[in-house]
């Protein structure tokens, strides 16, 4: 089933969807840390809880700011009153943790039993006096990283349209200013720099150091970031005025983009994602172009970064990388790696919003053409079994895959890298291009170092057939 829809000549396929990935509720693991005054309540079953416990490993131990509202038989059979139950739990959370916001994460189970979270939240919010944001991060509708999308889309609706008071405005602006001081004199710091361009909102959860780095890069072009979604604190959610510009940082935020456009009347800038020196330059250039700013020194900056990663680039040059599909970062990474000299026969991807990812898809195609390599096959909702057959036939140098397949592939002599690491690592912007290649080359460097120790086949003949 190949579609040839615009704007590219890339081939798109859709398989059975029998692929391994993490549940979208995973997003609580990074969002509760990013939003320091939040509490995430995942309303689901023992299955959801056990997943969080195991997938998030050690993180759960030290009293995290997230928990399960574990549905028991009485909840499922509707013998218990949902409102009363949620009130009991949220009251306890308020008492023990007193967060600024409680985020309810709906799961497959709340969908199936049709629990009316959106209906219950406003009532309970009013009753206990803590904002409650509802996100349906369920596996029926969404894949792994899209959980963040559901939360940010819900939060976008909560951002103020204008600062409600002078003091409030000051607080929000200071929150941004605090991020960045550039050693200016205290007097200068007191003055929020009034920018010459319309407000620009960046959306997507990134680690704080990445936020700082991107802010610095944009500041070099005279661009001020008016707000981040999410902010470090729920109480510092940015003002989103009608007509503001917004640009996404992560490729899995199409719903948030739509919400910003439709409900908040923002102009969402479509650009490749700031992955690799090429993508970072394209991202900044696109922002400049929209804000009508003449970009300064970007070509030099890009060249300098390419120069600094040349050692790693040489390691990947001419090698073949296969994406099984996991976190929606596949296209941006493939585009950067092709630019590094790799070939990419297949990009599996859970889901593809061709509008939100349009600029990235175009850049991928252009990059392949410019590097003179074949266009990858794009496989939405892949079938892992079929992919493994293709991998066996192709024998790629590297497979970027979910955790379930890494060891079996390694045992068959195929180098792998966990896709999930790109979800957690700092990969955005010029400064982190090296970090991406560090990750990508690690299995290659490792297998070089180990040489022929024990050969490359770790399964006995009887089972290699699989």
């Amino acid at each position: 089933m190949t579609t040839t829809e615009a704007p590219s000549a890339l081939s798109f396929e859709c398989e059975t969807g029998n692929y391994h990935t993490f549940c979208p509720i995973s997003c609580v693991a990074w969002l509760y840390q990013k939003i320091e005054d939040s509490f995430f309540l995942v309303i689901g079953t023992k299955t959801c809880g056990y997943f969080l416990q195991n997938a998030m490993g050690v993180m759960i131990f030290a009293e995290p700011r997230y928990a399960m509202a574990e549905l028991e038989e009485g909840d499922i059979s509707a013998q218990l009153n949902d409102y009363a139950e949620l009130k009991r739990l949220c009251t306890q959370i308020k008492r023990d943790r007193n967060p600024s916001v409680i985020v309810w994460i709906g799961t497959c189970t709340t969908e199936i039993i049709k629990m009316d979270l959106e209906g219950l939240a406003p009532k309970l919010e009013a009753e206990i006096g803590i904002p409650i944001v509802v996100a349906r991060a369920n596996g029926l509708d969404y894949a792994f990283t899209q959980g963040e999308d559901t939360v940010l889309a819900a939060m976008a609706a909560r951002c103020p349209e204008a600062a409600t008071s002078e003091a409030d405005q000051q607080e929000r602006t200071n929150a941004i200013q605090r991020l960045l001081q550039f050693g200016k004199s205290p007097a200068a710091e007191q003055q929020p720099a009034s920018s010459k361009h319309p407000p620009l909102i960046l959306f997507g959860s990134v680690p704080d150091p990445v936020a700082t780095q991107l802010t610095i890069e944009l500041a070099k072009q005279g661009i001020t970031v008016s707000g981040w979604l999410p902010a470090k604190r729920y109480t510092e959610l940015p003002v989103i005025a009608e007509g503001s510009y917004a640009i996404g940082l992560n490729p899995f935020l199409s719903r948030t983009a739509t919400t910003l456009m439709r409900r908040r009347k923002c102009k969402v800038i479509g650009a490749p994602f700031p992955i690799g020196p090429d993508g970072s330059r394209a991202w900044i250039e696109k922002i400049c172009s929209v804000l009508e700013i003449e970009p300064q020194g970007l070509a030099e900056r890009e060249a300098q970064v390419w120069d600094s990663i040349e050692d790693y680039r040489q390691l990947v040059e001419g090698k073949q990388v296969f994406f099984m599909g996991d976190n929606l970062w596949e296209i941006s990474l493939a585009r950067f790696l092709v630019r590094c000299g790799m070939r990419c026969p297949e990009i599996g991807i859970p889901y593809l919003d061709r509008r939100y990812l349009g600029a990235e898809l175009a850049m991928l195609e252009a990059t392949c053409q410019s590097m003179g390599v074949p266009l990858p096959r794009l496989v939405e909702k892949p079938d892992n079994y079929n992919q493994l057959q293709r991998i066996e036939a192709l024998q790629p140098d590297l497979v970027i895959t979910g955790m379930a397949h890494a060891n079996p592939l390694e045992a068959r002599g195929i180098s792998t890298k966990w896709s999930v690491e790109f979800t957690f690592a700092q990969i955005h912007g010029f400064g982190n291009a090296r970090a991406i290649l560090e990750l990508v080359t690690r299995p290659l460097r490792r297998n070089l170092a180990l040489g022929t120790l024990g050969g490359s086949q770790w399964v006995s003949e009887a089972v290699t057939s699989r």
């Binding site: 979208p24 023992k46 299955t47 928990a67 029926l140 379930a404």
Partner: protein
Amino acid sequence: MKLAYWMYAGPAHIGTLRISSSFRNVHAIMHAPLGDDYFNVMRSMLERERNFTPVTTSVVDRNVLARGSQEKVIDNILRKDTEERPDLIVLTPTCTSSILQEDLQNFVERAKESAQCDVLLADVNHYRVNELQAADRTLEQIVRFYLDRAQRQGTLPSQRTEQPSVNILGMTTLGFHNRHDTTELQRLMADLGITVNAVIPAGASVEELQHLPRAWFNLVPYREVGLLTAQYLQDTFDQPMVAIAPMGITATADCIRQIQQVLNQQGAAVDFEPFIDRQTRFASEAAWFSHSIDCQNLTGKRAVVFGDNTHAAAFTKILSREMGIHVVLAGTYCKHDADWFEAEVAGYCDRVLISDDHNAIADAIAELEPAAIFGTQMERHVGKRLNIPCGVIAAPVHIQNFPVGYRPFVGYEGANQIVDLVYNSFTLGMEDHLLEIFGGHDTKEVLTKTVSAGSDLDWKPDGLTELNRIPGFVRGKVKRNTEKYAREQGLTAITAEVLYAAKEALGA
């Protein structure tokens, strides 16, 4: 609803999958939404399994919900039948899909019409049983299925093996140190001259199940998984079971003695006492280590034990009767089998705690301030917070429970490993303590403002000076005891004299 940060036992489908994936050439179809298949990750990552996990998710998404899942499930069963050629396919829902109220048994019947392999629906209630109970149940279900068929087909063996033999039941993938325990049990049986007729389910094929009745007895090392199967085999084939976990020197001897009894009742004439004596006193070093001077300082140390029934009960007894350690609290999260636990540890501990609420355990530990904890990963983290060492003795499993080096918990080598674990739990911190007892090596100005924080009593400078001379790992306790004493005596100021008077009065 239950507010939960952590659970000790996983959901039921994990138990079912642990059983089906343990067998050779058995595939599972999990009828569940995207992302519920993290069992595959756990098995692949924790066990460093070289083969792809034989579990395929038949994904339930919005479309499937709308159209019904029957077609997809049956398609997936038949597809795997063709692709993997398994002997058996086990179908299981998860908590989520089990509430769809579909007639999965009917899906199975439909699939069986076309499939080459056997197809079974795992028969567990996903809201009433946990991972351990589901594993126990699924194993029994599969065993019963094949033995019933063999009986119908007349292929059941008619008699026991000539020489004494055993089935070892309940060894599974993702089990706590199960792999090394299996090896150790096989070695122990070899030492006793007992043939291992079968180890199930780990590594067994379903074809082998019909041979189970040939063994002289069934050994169930962990009561969490295998007991139902052993009970079924006892009821149906009059096959005796030995269900004593051979963990620790004494329990291993007890287990061997019960095996001896079971064998001799069937006409053997074995005497394992000389073997037990030689192992206990010379071959294994665990018992001698306990008696040796190194362990003298463990005498009367206070410990908390928490885990599954098998390991928590075994450790309570090992600590108490084999190492002279004072178990102030023994607990289990196996609420469904609490009576057994209480009976088992009676007389070996001050207090019993049956709960699967990790906060209850954490609170008990904080209150009791033991010198060491033997628990799960959760207790280890509680210990970290409280600065109390913790040895991990039970599931939930963690990467550290799949060491490459040989680390069994059962049998005589297991007993050796256990005394190391216990000794090191107490002493890993000892080195730091020693340094602190001896006051470090250079004089430090210890100005601990915090030490008197939150106290309503007036700690005088000389009292504080003395308090700061107390090693850090007991300072908190001494402070509390001193303040308690001062309040009882109606004193408001705490001097050095008060501190020492309190120490004498409280005998510590």
